[in-house]
Symmetry: C2
């Protein structure tokens, strides 16, 4: 059986940052860059910014996110020797289900819906590898966790870090 890789969507396959930077600019009337919230999430920088996290509940939020550079090519390559499952913690956001499903079909048409998983607590996932930006997901995972760099996880050093999809590609190529 091929080794199985569980891949997270947000901040791994789908780039959430540009959309939140736009929202920030619209709400607070000034631009924000990644450096301004380095070390945390954009909505974690000040108390009065926290409410913009609620935009995640809006219908459509997840439908037009940018595709993370290299993710399509690398996932397609990984499929040759691995089972790929897309495992996303969608359950907090009822209105995200159809958006995420359509987004996956649009940008990753070579993946089968049988390999999509919408869940809450990722400890339910049985796989050999997990690529995720959230430490809490990797901590509960029984296989090998790869931490995909995001602003909020830069101080973490317990997991193999991958900064981008080229590094994911290198990691698995070096295993072959």
């Amino acid at each position: 059986m091929k080794p199985r890789i569980a891949i997270d969507m947000d901040e791994v396959m789908a780039n959430v940052e540009p959309k939140f930077q736009e929202i920030y600019e619209r709400e607070f009337g000034k631009k924000i860059t990644r450096e301004d919230y380095w070390g945390q999430k954009i909505y974690g920088i000040r108390e009065e910014v926290r409410y913009i996290r609620d935009f995640l509940h809006n219908k459509g939020f997840f439908r037009d996110l940018e595709v993370m550079p290299g993710s399509q090519e690398v996932i397609r390559e990984l499929m040759e020797d691995h089972e790929i499952f897309i495992t996303t913690a969608a359950m907090e956001f009822r209105s995200s289900f159809e958006d995420k499903y359509d987004w996956l079909h649009e940008h990753f048409p070579f993946l089968h819906w049988k390999n999509f998983v919408f869940c809450g607590d990722k400890s339910i996932i049985r796989a050999d590898y997990m690529i995720d930006d959230h430490i809490s997901n990797l901590e509960k995972f029984a296989g090998a966790g790869l931490l995909f760099t995001a602003s909020h996880n830069i101080h973490e050093d317990r997991f193999v870090r991958v900064n981008n999809w080229m590094e994911v590609q290198q990691y698995f190529r070096s295993k072959d």
Copy 2:
């Protein structure tokens, strides 16, 4: 850590049969009983009946299904000593996501969305027990599979069979 039970929705927590019997009667102008399709699914009995399976894609189909007798009480009891995850193969049916989510919240308000899983291939599920009416799901499961009786699985004898929720209750009580 508490042992974890993965529980299927359709034909285990949610009773799909009455709705399909209604559809059959409406489409073919005559009543059908469980005995008429014993040994298979209702839409498997004749070639010209097969299309009624497509009703599963209709928005609303999964929203008003009857709750399987005893499921609420027994699941609530099982939660005392087990982690409960609801694992449903929803991915084939895009329009089922919100319906299933709302149905769970309405009828099982004591379950947390963190413990809901919408998937396709259930081999991704990591749990100790799985209660399911589909043999294909139990075959790929690494833990102990409990086959919940449905018309289409009556000839199977490789798994522990539970005919109803009282038998699920007895099974787990006898383990304590």
